[in-house]
């Protein structure tokens, strides 16, 4: 018997003829009870707790906020489909990924990356990227040391369940909660290891 069939047979033997399990109780919270303003406040609070930088703006002041977040950044990488308006106040060079993909060393040379996101969870201060509009492939938001992420208010949901339910499972998904960190030294959280050491979230409210 090959390994697959043998393992499956072993598991069936282990379980016996009539394995059963009780039904799953799903009476945990799926939606929060916060209004929109309180939800955004919570989101900001959590991000700050992770030592992410946060800017709040309106659609009219977004370009300005992006420009300020990118102060000092000479070489910026962006996904090929980044909305043009985001960059109108940025004076440096923005290099787009695609149609010819940037190399890893191109990404390593960049000072920062600017993207949007798919959804964000307020209660945990989490941003989720799914490779969709304005986000690019995963390497883009990983190699540069500084990630600036634009989140619109309508993308912010309450907790993890609400976020999970908005996502398409088979896309490559990255959940980001603050800058890269480690708890490996005496179990204290220290920000800044291999992923971007700076995370700047720009929240756009209309």
């Amino acid at each position: 018997m090959n390994a697959r069939d043998e393992i499956l047979a072993r598991l069936r033997t282990a379980l016996g003829p009539t394995p059963s399990a009780p039904p799953v109780p799903r009476d945990y919270r799926v939606d929060d009870d916060l209004d929109d303003a309180a939800r955004l406040e919570t989101f900001v609070d959590r991000l700050v707790d992770y030592k992410a930088e946060v800017t709040r703006c309106t659609p009219d002041t977004l370009a300005e906020a992006v420009g300020a977040a990118l102060a000092g950044v000479e070489r910026l990488v962006v996904p090929g489909d980044v909305p043009e308006g985001w960059l109108s106040a940025y004076p440096g060079t923005a290099v787009a990924d695609g149609p010819q993909p940037l190399t890893v060393s191109d990404l390593d040379d960049a000072d920062a990356v600017l993207t949007g996101c798919a959804v964000a969870a307020a209660l945990t201060g989490t941003i989720v990227l799914d490779g969709g509009a304005g986000q690019g492939r995963r390497a883009l938001t990983l190699v540069p040391d500084h990630h600036v992420c634009v989140v619109t208010a309508d993308q912010v949901v309450g907790g993890v369940p609400a976020a999970i339910r908005r996502l398409a499972p088979t896309r490559p998904l990255t959940f980001i909660s603050g800058p890269s960190a480690t708890s490996d030294i005496e179990l204290n959280r220290v920000e800044g290891v291999h992923g971007p050491r700076r995370l700047h979230v720009i929240i756009v409210e209309s």
């Binding site: 039904p23 990983l142 890269s180």
Partner: protein, 484 residues
């Protein structure tokens, strides 16, 4: 029934009885100080973020029920997972035991022509001793998780499933980096930030140039073929994103039926493990995404003693474990001896029930003494995010150990020694119990539910009233005081 199913191999059991190994570890005061500090830090953080969720108990109940459902339907869910992952472009392999898993992975790395791989922290690959197998095949494996790197640089073994270098303090880590990293910056201080920066520089080039990565997975979704890895540092994202080839070694028990089930486990796991609302990075991938990430994706599903564990109706709940490590962080025994005394990749309370089941409770070595390496205080059960009743399984395995030992007086002495060690200092023990108990009386509950008429051996040998049932209204501690 478990007799008929083959047990696991790899780093699951050592040669020495637990008390012998524990005595060696107890002779290391620095180790105890480090462990005390770290486990208390993490306990408090965990308690804070758990208290924040009003529906924590409901999440635990859901998590526990989902895992029971997974176990009951495991063969069917594995077939479903295989089909979904294959349709998404991954290649699924199966391995009966540690040796076969190492063979499969080594073969896959060889096919790529690479003689170097980067690794994301994974319990499964430690369990099968993959690094040693790769080395024997001339392939260098670099651990990229900070704590794993520390342990690997120092030719040591991990001592905790989440923070494998928990037994080192910052100045010991500084010394290891300075002496063994090769490219450690001159004048390295023991400031955690500086140490993290040194690791970043050391690994950066490897990340950017590696062709092959090896990972485990925290969860595997049957419905979609998706794998999930939770991490903090970004080393996981580096390994899961940049190389051309990705090989993931996954225990068969890691399945979840549906993608939506992640909404439960992504709340339970980070709060229970690092005591954070959410870990910095969680990656999910389903087979191959053209133009994004590894294009050559393999998944190796391993049994290695899991089917034998599943065969035990009481013990199978150990397979529900999501490796959060909360149970070791609250365990009065773990806090004193550390992870090495357990001689398995799975230490602490979960190790005491998982390792002996995966390897089989034999009459010699550590596996038969591990179930006695506990005060049965129940703190592990209280914190377990998937409500594994560890005391219940411990009591159950003690009975099995008795059966394995019958007629072997030397083995009885060994187990008595384990018990004697745990119970040795009554004041310390009482203190540990008071501190650890959070409202439940697990031993009494276990005994009631399991209809055990007398105390499990070898405690029975310690009391004159060995045939008396444990009064349900009396706590274990009170009973202990009264009968001593």
């Amino acid at each position: 029934m478990s007799e008929r199913l083959p047990h696991g191999s790899g780093r699951l059991a050592g040669p020495r009885p637990f008390p012998d190994a524990a005595v060696v570890e107890l002779g290391k005061p620095q180790l105890r100080a480090n462990l005390h500090k770290a486990t208390h830090t993490i306990r408090n953080k965990r308690a804070r973020v758990v208290d924040e969720l009003p529906d924590w108990e409901k999440l635990r109940l859901a998590g526990s029920a989902i895992k029971s459902d997974v176990m009951a339907r495991l063969p069917e869910l594995l077939v479903q997972f295989e089909a979904a992952a294959t349709a998404a472009g991954a290649t699924v392999h199966w391995a009966r035991d540690a040796a076969e898993a190492c063979e499969v992975v080594t073969g896959l790395v060889r096919e790529t022509g690479a003689d170097e791989v980067v690794k994301v922290k994974s319990m499964a690959t430690q369990e099968i001793e993959l690094n040693e197998a790769l080395e024997a095949a001339g392939i260098t494996a670099t651990e990229t998780d900070l704590a794993e790197l520390i342990v690997q640089l120092n030719d040591d073994q991990p001592s905790h499933i989440l923070v494998p270098a928990i037994h080192y303090n910052r100045s010991q880590i500084r010394d290891i980096f300075t002496e063994r990293m090769g490219d450690a910056p001159a004048g390295l201080t023991d400031e955690p930030r500086v140490l993290a920066e040194a690791a970043r520089l050391h690994l950066r080039r490897k990340f950017l140039s590696s062709k092959v990565a090896i990972s485990g997975a925290n969860f595997a979704v049957a419905e979609t073929g998706t794998l999930v890895v939770l991490e903090s540092e970004g080393n996981g994202r580096m390994c899961l994103t940049l190389p051309e080839t990705l090989i993931s070694v996954v225990g068969v028990e890691k399945l979840l039926p549906s993608f939506t089930d992640l909404e439960v486990f992504l709340q339970l796991l980070p709060r229970s493990s690092t005591g954070e609302r959410m870990n910095p990075y969680t990656s999910m991938w389903t087979g191959v995404t053209p133009g994004d990430g590894p294009q050559n994706v393999h998944i190796v599903l391993i049994d290695n003693g899991r089917s034998a564990t599943l065969a035990d109706e009481v013990g199978r709940q150990a397979l529900h474990c999501i490796r959060c490590s909360a149970c070791m962080n609250v365990c009065p025994v773990y806090e004193r001896v550390g992870g090495h005394a357990y001689q398995s990749v799975y230490p602490g309370p979960i190790g005491a029930i998982l390792s002996p089941q995966m390897t089989g409770v034999s009459a010699s070595g550590v596996s038969s003494t591990l179930p006695f390496a506990s005060t049965l205080c129940g703190a592990c059960y209280d914190v377990c995010p998937v409500r594994i009743n560890i005391p219940e399984v411990l009591v159950h395995l003690r009975q099995e150990a008795v059966d394995a030992h019958r007629g072997k007086p030397s083995a009885e002495r060994t187990a008595m020694k384990a018990m004697g060690w745990v119970m040795g200092d009554r004041r310390r023990y009482a203190r540990a119990l008071r501190a650890a108990r959070a409202g439940s009386a697990p031993l009494a509950a276990v005994l009631r539910r399991r209809k055990v008429r007398r105390l499990p051996w070898p405690m029975s040998a310690w009391t004159a009233s060995r045939d008396a049932p444990l009064p349900a209204t009396e706590t274990f501690r009170d009973w202990w005081r009264r009968t001593r």
